[in-house]
């Protein structure tokens, strides 16, 4: 009984409530006429879509830089990769790979600068991350207007200046991962093998990374800086590495997202993209300075589960769509809970 109590206290009341809520939704599904296999399939697709962005938060949490509200910087790197890849005319698998490679280059550069900035402002990273992220999205919005892109599928028709707000990747690499080795069971269930595979592989790589010397160094920087300093670890350099990793993973994440979603969203699209990922990882049990891969999986699954199930169940039962409001309350409530929790870090 005691260990259960401890587990409950550690896990946190909000998470228990959320898990029970999702459980209830799944139970209710067959009774209200919601197609369960289709819902599960949708949830899996969404997990594949968003998983890597959630994964991207792990390095910075572990290194003590807090929740990366500035993930939009990584997203921008990804957008640059995707648009440049299309501009250069690459299609199919090559286009996809090119987009990823280009985005990683940008991600590394952005991450480096971003990391240097965060090193100057230790303790106040989260708020600054948010507004640096916002400002960058706005500079990029100006850039999308004036950069010399020429590809006709991307620029405004009738000779307007700049890129369109949303660019379709149909004909380029739409669903390239989702449909890769896809398993189709019946007419309602589709297992997006490609996307889940990439998510699993990346997670595994991250797991390996954090068991290497450099990974443990980063974890030490986040959980016990005094010890890290005493062991001769260069705290600032480790932090920069973690920020670069986070940004680069974010860049990869948005490209994976786009292949499933079908569109590249420019201008103000990336503005709030960090928040769902942050909420997801917190729902999965992470704290402001500790995150494990389990947090990522559980969090992504729970969050996307709620996002998929709530609209269909509520619509069927109450004939009203409260999903957006519920999403706002759940995700922001979760972040709030994590922010107000006392941290057990030795400083």
């Amino acid at each position: 009984m005691d260990s259960m109590k401890r587990f409950a206290a550690d896990f946190g009341l909000p998470r228990i409530i959320i898990t029970l809520y999702l459980f209830a939704l799944f139970l209710a599904a067959p009774f209200v006429g919601v197609n369960l296999p289709a819902s599960i399939s949708d949830t899996l697709i969404r997990i594949g879509m968003n998983g890597i962005m959630v994964l991207a938060l792990v390095p910075m949490i572990q290194s003590g830089c807090g929740l990366n509200f500035g993930l939009s910087l990584g997203v921008i790197a990804g957008l640059l990769g995707a648009t440049i890849s299309i501009e250069m005319g690459f299609v199919g698998a090559w286009g996809f790979v090119a987009a990823i490679l280009i985005s990683q280059a940008f991600g590394a550069v952005f991450g480096y600068g971003y990391g240097k900035l965060l090193n100057r402002v230790k303790g106040g990273e989260m708020m600054i991350a948010t507004y640096v992220g916002f400002s960058s999205v706005m500079i990029m919005s100006i850039a999308w207007l004036i950069l010399p892109f020429k590809d006709p599928t991307m620029i405004w028709g009738y000779g307007g200046t700049g890129l369109r707000t949303t660019i379709s990747v149909e004909g380029f690499w739409r669903h390239i991962l989702d449909d890769f080795l896809v398993i189709q069971i019946g007419e309602n269930f589709k297992f997006p093998t490609g996307a889940i595979l990439v998510f699993a592989v990346m997670s595994f790589l991250i797991w390996v990374f954090f068991h290497l010397k450099i990974g443990t160094a980063i974890t030490a920087v986040g959980s016990n800086p005094t010890y890290a300093r005493a062991s001769g670890i260069n705290i600032d350099r480790m932090r920069i590495v973690s920020v670069m990793m986070s940004t680069m993973l974010g860049a990869l994440g948005i490209i994976v997202f786009q292949q499933s979603f079908g569109f590249i969203q420019l201008y103000e699209g990336p503005l709030y993209m960090a928040f769902p990922a942050v909420a997801a990882i917190l729902i999965g049990g992470a704290g402001v300075n500790k995150a494990t891969l389990t947090n990522v999986f559980i969090g992504a699954a729970l969050y996307q589960g709620i996002l998929t199930m709530t609209p269909s169940i509520f619509n069927a039962v109450l004939k009203v769509d409260m999903s957006d409001v519920i999403r706002i309350i759940v995700s922001n409530g979760m972040i709030l809970y994590a922010l107000t929790r006392k941290t057990k870090v030795a400083k």
Binding site: Y272, P311, D321
Partner: protein, 164 residues
Amino acid sequence: MTSRSLFQRSCVLLGFIALSVYLFYIGKGHTLLIDTNAVTINGKELRSPETIEVSIDGKPAESMGRAERILILAGGPRHTITIEVLSGDDKKVEKQFTIPTFMDSAVVSVPAILGDAPPEFWVTTFTAPPVEEAPAEQMQHEQDAPEATTEISPNATAPGQQKP
């Protein structure tokens, strides 16, 4: 909490409640329908002159003929109506009337006022005719104003564009 500060706080609270009630009373808006249709009061039929100019609370005057109704929005219980008769008699009448607080739309009968009928006949409640009616009779609530077609369902966000 000491009983004295409890007393003080209760006084403040009661003060606010009293103020709210007062504000509600003097601020309640009404739709006034100034009506020149003939009315029959106590067996006598009263009619409006051919042309008059009517002004409520000193606002710019509007001219009216017989059997017309114009709409004026006003706030508060007490109002002044100034009727200047332009045809025939040439007289100017200024009278005060009150609108009950919970009467949203009130019909103010000009013939009743001019005909020196007892004040209780001046103002009557407006009851909307059952089905559709001519636009002139239709109630025009203030809230109609920017009835933008934007009845956007709060869920018009694509999966990728979520505001926190």
